[in-house]
Symmetry: C2
Subunit: 286 residues, 2 copies
């Protein structure tokens, strides 16, 4: 396994693979890898086969964090990440420096990719410049790594939808796979940010998944509910946890991300909850 920290070197290698006709499966991450990421790597390997190349990028992308976000304290562990990638048969880790991705010298950096529809609402409302940072860095990474297929996690459901829209609109020659959320035994969606939680916060964090399960149970019998009243009920329930504060609870169509008029079986639910100082998200189809 190779670790590449330089954009030009990575791109030269990608060009060589392209000329040789090798399939490249790409997993873009911000590092601090867990079993959720590992399942993306397995998907990528499955898709490109044993003769294909699996590339994992590790880059804590500054442009997708707001000044008030957790950029500087975002957890990092390249040695641990390297071990995990090696154990999962990854061929290349691409871990570029901030400055090679966003040069500050010379002409600087001034081009952005922006999706203006699917990116509205939910994470887009709570974190206004977040998705512009995501689409910009993913466009860059696609152009550098030249993947055949890229795998994203379903935990970041809106992000995956925004990426798919970007790829379709800008005709990026990359297939996008969205891979199922991997959960802890108590249902908490795996996330690098879970490491911020105290033992008590960690216990309270299962409230996100429990809210989804409760909503599922409510609509399982065929009921159609008013979104606001169900969201309020779930919010109250989550906030019985002493350190949990709901940011949003949304019900929507999984393809268009348009808000659902009535919540019923098949509708998609997503939520963001601050537990202690950590903002957690989760989602699932009801």
């Amino acid at each position: 396994m190779r670790i590449i920290r330089n954009v030009v070197q990575m791109h030269t290698l990608a060009r060589r693979w392209q000329k040789a006709g090798r399939k490249v499966g790409f997993v873009p991450t911000m590092g601090y890898l867990h079993e959720g990421h590992a399942s993306l790597m397995s998907q990528a390997r499955k898709r490109v086969g044993t003769h294909g190349i699996v590339v994992v990028s590790i880059f804590v992308n500054p442009t997708q964090f707001a000044p008030t976000d957790d950029l500087t304290k975002y957890p990092r562990d390249l040695p641990g990440d390297t071990r995990l990638c090696r154990s999962r048969g990854v061929n290349v880790i691409f871990a570029p420096t901030d400055d090679s991705m966003y040069p500050k010298t010379g002409a600087g950096f001034s081009t952005f990719v922006e999706e203006l529809q699917v990116s509205q609402g939910m994470e887009g409302s709570s974190r206004p410049t977040h998705f512009r940072g995501v689409t910009t860095v993913v466009a860059k990474l696609f152009n550098i790594v030249l993947p055949t297929v890229a795998v994203f996690g379903a935990k970041d459901f809106q992000q995956a939808a925004v990426i798919k829209k970007m790829v379709a609109d800008l005709n990026f020659p990359v297939e996008i796979l969205v891979s199922e959320t991997v959960r802890e035994p108590d249902g908490l969606a795996m996330s690098s940010r879970n490491s911020y939680l105290s033992p008590s916060g960690r216990r309270q964090a299962s409230a996100l998944h429990e809210a989804i399960e409760s909503a599922k149970a409510t609509v399982a019998g065929g009921k159609a509910l008013n979104p606001e009243s169900l969201a309020n009920k779930l919010k109250q329930r989550i906030e019985t946890q002493p350190d949990a504060q709901v940011d949003y609870i949304a019900f929507f169509d999984a393809n268009t991300l348009r808000p659902a008029k009535r919540v019923k079986k098949g509708v998609h639910m997503a939520l963001a909850v601050r537990v202690e100082k950590t903002r957690l998200i989760d989602n699932d189809q009801l």
Copy 2:
């Protein structure tokens, strides 16, 4: 020579060339081709060689026109364009439909590429959404045609600078060539929009090139001048033509596009002038 009107078909062909390791030279145009475009085709051919592929796209891109611009009356002549391309050894004309580039049905179109630095001032001031349309369509075309090299005309100097910045910032795997402006015998830069001019307007239009030549002569001896006063002098001179109205005259550094504090030999000059109802642009190094 093939004419392709379908995005998927074009992309399939491009993938095949890529797998076969063939070099692709790309000339994106809005059609109504003239000798200026033909010189871009020659550059592309020179760069990819006789075994390479030259693709010319013909697409009057709606997203780079403002509602007040000349989109609907923009001149079109696919039979004439086809003849010119054939005579210059072009391999493929890619002339997609509006709807295949910007679908109105389904999820619509909602992703844009925006350069925020080089695109400011000059054309960016006079046509506020113009460059966002240009960078978006060029990003799409690059992803569809997968060129090794793309050739742009120096007549649209700021456009070429914006494209180069986008390619550098987003790491597009495409080499950008900027090819010299081709001029009519009286110095008028070739442009599809010249066809709008009446015989009288056509004669007056040489005032753009004359203004550049006059500025060149002024600084040739080593003088350094105040930009505002030189611009004013040239504006007055141009507007002695009865149907000419200056939009802007700018002096700047050719690399950064930052305004020059003093106009001297080596500084770049660009101008936009409305002649009758037609907006013409030109530029050159002094």
